[in-house]
C-alpha cells in the first residue's frame, strides 16, 4: 500500500525536515511507502547538498523579497520554489521492491509516472537523464534522490507556472553567459501555463497520485503524517534552519 499525503503547503524548513523524517521512518518500518505532494510558503530557494550557497544564491535579492534559503539532503542544483510549482517526494524502502538498486535507472523509474501524468493532460514529456523531465527540449521537472536510513527519497518539482523575474534569486555561475542569463534560462525552462495548460496544484497532485498507483501497480490510501514522523521533523527542523547546515559549503 502506498500512502498519499495530499497536497499541502508548508514552510521551507519544515518541508525539508518532514521529507527526511519520512525517509528515516520508512527505512525503520515506522511508516509505509509514501508519495507526498506539497508546496512552499514563503517562497524559497533550495540548494543541492554539494553546492556552495554563496555561489548559487543571490542572498541579498532573497532577503529583499522574503525568499527563504534552505539546503537539501539531496544533490543536484538550486531550485526556486514558488506558488506555481508542485513538489513531490516519493519515499520507499531501499529493498528493490519498488525501485531498482541502480541509481541512474531508478531516476527514470520514478520519473515515469510523472511523465505519464503529463501525457494524460496532453503534454508530450520525456525523461532526460540524469534527473530531468523535458517538453520539447525545455525542462519542466527536475528531481533529486538520496538513499539513507535504508530508504530511498526522491523529491522533485513540476512547474505549473513560473514568474521568470524570480530567477534573479539564483546566481547562474556560467560567467560567460551572465549578460544573457535570463534569456538563456527562459529558453531552457517551461511551465504548464507556458504550454497553455491551466491546472491547479491540487488537480495535478490527484493525477500524479493516480499515475503512481498505476505505474507501481499498488493500492493507495490517503493518509496523514504519523506521530513518529511529526516528532522527528520537529527535531530536524532546527538543522534545516541552522547556519551550520545551510552554509556548510
Amino acid at each position: 500500500m502506498l500512502r498519499i499525503l495530499r497536497f499541502h503547503i508548508n514552510d521551507p524548513f519544515y518541508n525539508m525536515a518532514i521529507d527526511e523524517a519520512i525517509t528515516k521512518c520508512v527505512g525503520e518500518n515506522l511508516s509505509p511507502p509514501t508519495l507526498r505532494l506539497y508546496g512552499w510558503w514563503p517562497r524559497a530557494v533550495s540548494i543541492g547538498y554539494f553546492q556552495e550557497i554563496k555561489e548559487e544564491v543571490n542572498l541579498e535579492f532573497c532577503k529583499e523579497n522574503n525568499i527563504e534559503v534552505v539546503r537539501r539532503i539531496t544533490g543536484g542544483g538550486a531550485v526556486i520554489h514558488t506558488e506555481g510549482e508542485l513538489t513531490y517526494s516519493f519515499i520507499v524502502k531501499n529493498d528493490g521492491k519498488y525501485v531498482p538498486f541502480d541509481i541512474e535507472e531508478s531516476y527514470k523509474i520514478i520519473c515515469t509516472p510523472i511523465i505519464n501524468a503529463l501525457k494524460r493532460i496532453g503534454v508530450n514529456a520525456r525523461f532526460r537523464p540524469i534527473n530531468d523531465i523535458e517538453v520539447e527540449g525545455r525542462k519542466i521537472s527536475g528531481s533529486a534522490q538520496t538513499r539513507k536510513y535504508g530508504a530511498i527519497l526522491q523529491h522533485g518539482t513540476l512547474l505549473l507556472s513560473f514568474d521568470y523575474s524570480l530567477l534573479s534569486a539564483l546566481k547562474i555561475k556560467y560567467e560567460k553567459l551572465a549578460d544573457k542569463q535570463l534569456k538563456d534560462i527562459t529558453k531552457r525552462v517551461v511551465s504548464l501555463k507556458d504550454l497553455g495548460y491551466n491546472i491547479s496544484r491540487e488537480e495535478m497532485a490527484e493525477i500524479l497520485a493516480e499515475e503512481f498507483k498505476k505505474y507501481f501497480n499498488v493500492e493507495i490510501f490517503y493518509g496523514e503524517i504519523n506521530e513518529f514522523e511529526r516528532k522527528l521533523a520537529m527535531e530536524l527542523i532546527n538543522k534545516y534552519k541552522s547556519y551550520e547546515w545551510n552554509y556548510r559549503r
Partner: protein
C-alpha cells in the same frame, strides 16, 4: 564551458560535464594542500564527498591518478554527473 578564478589562497576551476563541477584548490608544487569540490552533481552516499576531499589532501597529482579510482571503488562511492577523469583533469589544470 570552463573558467579559472583566482581568489584567496585557492584557485578555482569550473567546468560543465554532465553536471557542473567546481574545484577550488591550493597546491604547493605538485602537492594538493587543500581542496573543496562543489557543484550540482550527485554522490552516493553524500557524506563521501568529505572523505574524498580528505583523501585528496597532501597527495601529488601523480599519486591521485593511481589511487583515486581505487579509493572510490573500495568505498562503493557512486558519482553521477562527472567522471573520475574529469575531476583529475580539473585538479591538474587548477
Amino acid at each position: 564551458m570552463s573558467g579559472i578564478i583566482e581568489g584567496d589562497f585557492l584557485k578555482t576551476v569550473i567546468r560543465k560535464y554532465e553536471k557542473l563541477l567546481k574545484v577550488s584548490i591550493e597546491k604547493e608544487g605538485d602537492i594538493i594542500k587543500n581542496i573543496r569540490i562543489s557543484g550540482d552533481f550527485f554522490i552516493y552516499p553524500e557524506e563521501a564527498l568529505d572523505e574524498l576531499e580528505e583523501f585528496i589532501k597532501n597527495k601529488s597529482i601523480n599519486d591521485l591518478k593511481n589511487e583515486l579510482e581505487k579509493f572510490i571503488k573500495n568505498k562503493n562511492i557512486i558519482i553521477l554527473g562527472f567522471k573520475i577523469n574529469d575531476l583529475l583533469e580539473l585538479i591538474e589544470n587548477a
